[in-house]
């Protein structure tokens, strides 16, 4: 968007694909390494090596993703991002302190992804956990997982999963399963799978059956994350449909891909 008061916008607004690709590859490599190589080590105590690799791989990959994505975003998407981040942190902090089995810390990320697209969603997810890390350092290593959630949510929105309210929970279920798989090694190798009281009860139950820590954390992730994203996606769909037309009109992503169907023509209201 160029304003008559400023110089004409320069054309260098393409995503830096190389940075994004390297970031994504780094995250994928870290995940594969952790899952394939490390489970042998965990029995004799978590090595600092795997923690370090988790931290550097996921944080570095997230930073590269953000660096690649940011230059390509429009001002309206950029202004939306702090809003999503603030919502994530405010709601996530509350849910965590209530001891729920779900986190609810992705509402802002999914909202931004639905309104402004997958790239903005991914950047919001990664930055959100990075900034949350200033108040709660334990959120820091999950940045890559949060970026993935934003990316997948935006992609789901682009291909019409938010056109019907009943499709949104389905998309949430799938995204949550992927997110849980990615978050499990972080929880296991950084924090020994300790989380909130609610998630811990689940891990303890799986450990009592004799599962290894990574398997227990993965099962817990699959349980909590699918449930969590199901709730979050439903909430965001309800929110998006409740928004007045004027606020929705400012997002080109919504119009271009018909993200919220049936509400572009006649204004039916609620």
């Amino acid at each position: 968007m160029s304003s008559p008061l400023t110089l004409p916008a320069t054309k260098a607004a393409r995503p830096r694909t190389a940075l994004v690709a390297v970031g994504a590859a780094l995250i994928a490599a870290t995940y594969l390494y952790l899952v394939l190589v490390q489970p042998a080590e965990i029995a004799e105590g978590i090595g600092g090596t795997s923690s370090l690799i988790t931290l550097f791989g996921f944080l570095g990959g997230g930073a590269l993703l953000v660096a690649g994505i940011l230059p390509s975003l429009s001002t309206s998407s950029l202004v939306l991002m702090p809003l999503g981040i603030a919502l994530n942190i405010a709601i996530g902090q509350t849910a965590g302190s209530l001891g729920l089995q779900i986190y609810l810390d992705a509402i802002g990320t999914v909202l931004v992804a639905v309104l402004a697209g997958p790239a903005a969603g991914a950047a919001t997810g990664a930055l959100s956990n990075a900034i949350w890390g200033l108040f709660n350092p334990l959120a820091l290593p999950f940045a890559a997982g949060a970026a993935l959630i934003g990316l997948l949510a935006g992609t789901a929105a682009r291909y019409g999963m938010f056109r019907r309210v009943y499709l949104a929970p389905v998309a949430g279920l799938v995204v949550g399963a992927v997110g849980g798989l990615v978050a499990a090694p972080v929880a296991a190798f950084m924090f020994g799978a300790a989380g909130t009281v609610g998630t811990n009860a689940l891990v303890a139950a799986f450990r009592a059956v004799g599962d290894s820590l990574l398997v227990a954390a993965t099962k817990q992730g699959l349980t909590s994350d699918t449930l969590d994203k199901l709730v979050v996606f439903t909430l965001v769909a309800l929110l998006a449909y409740a928004l007045p037309r004027r606020s929705r009109a400012q997002f080109p992503f919504l119009r271009r891909y018909g993200v919220l169907a049936g509400r572009t023509g006649s204004a039916t209201g609620r």
Partner: protein, 251 residues
């Protein structure tokens, strides 16, 4: 009483991050405990707001520590030295040791980073980033999100009160809770989005997306000495890490 600032925020945050890396590299409970006693405790006491920081650390790490001990103390299938047993729960020496190692590392992780983050002045950090020529979009998103946080919390509180004045009942059955959540979150998000739209126009009219250098109204508190020190610290930790692993592999 606010602490007199000695170093630039960037230097302090980097030092904290490098300390965490060191703890992860060395990875013994003795070193973690030493860092906790020698660095974190004095750091909190000298920060000028020890009570606030101690509370924040307790809130962030406390539940995690307790649950870590409960989890690994009672359920650690890999453990062999059984100290006590109740049904499926077995207290093993290996489990307790594992919990102590992870717990101490967690405490250091939260303690170091929270102390650094809670004493950092965000405006000074943002101005330093601008002076150092970081991506201004990133600087805007970070600064704006941190500034928006208290605003969002305050606004949610006001909307909840307004809806309660109209007869909203918080709590009760699940459907009524969901309805209550929507009654608060819809006006909250709508209001924030309208603010964002206005901010977009304001930023555009002030040339946010135009190219060229930016001026920060706050003076640069960074010095050449600190810039050098940051590079040296990072190189030192990197060198130490490589040496540590080389020695470890040789053994």
């Amino acid at each position: 009483m606010p602490r007199r600032r000695v170093f630039n925020p960037l230097t302090e945050l980097l030092a904290a991050a490098l300390l965490v890396v060191l703890v992860l590299v060395v990875n013994t409970w003795q070193f973690s405990l030493a860092v906790l006693v020698v660095v974190v405790v004095p750091g909190v006491l000298l920060s000028g707001k020890p009570r606030q920081i101690a509370l924040a650390i307790a809130v962030a790490a406390g539940p995690l520590l307790i649950s870590s001990f409960l989890l690994h103390g009672l359920f650690f299938p890999e453990g062999t030295t059984v100290l006590a047993e109740w049904g499926p729960a077995r207290v093993t020496a290996e489990g307790l040791q594992f919990a102590a190692l992870t717990g101490l590392r967690l405490a250091v992780f939260t303690g170091v980073l929270l102390t650094a983050a809670l004493t950092v002045s965000i405006p000074e950090l943002v101005s330093t980033l601008t002076h150092r020529g970081w991506n201004r979009r990133l600087v805007f998103v970070v600064g704006s999100a941190v500034g928006l946080l208290p605003h969002v919390a305050e606004r949610a509180r006001q909307i909840t009160r307004a809806q309660q004045a109209r007869g909203l009942v918080v709590g009760g059955s699940l459907p009524s809770r969901v309805r209550g959540l929507l009654m608060v979150s819809v006006p909250l998000v709508t209001g924030l989005l309208i603010d964002a739209a206005e901010r977009t126009q304001l930023l555009e009219s002030r040339g946010f997306s135009s190219p060229g250098p930016r001026t920060s109204y706050l003076p640069d508190t960074d010095t050449a000495g600190q810039r050098t020190a940051r590079w040296l610290m990072a190189a030192g930790v990197l060198g130490f890490g490589c040496a540590w692993y080389a020695v470890g592999a040789g053994r």
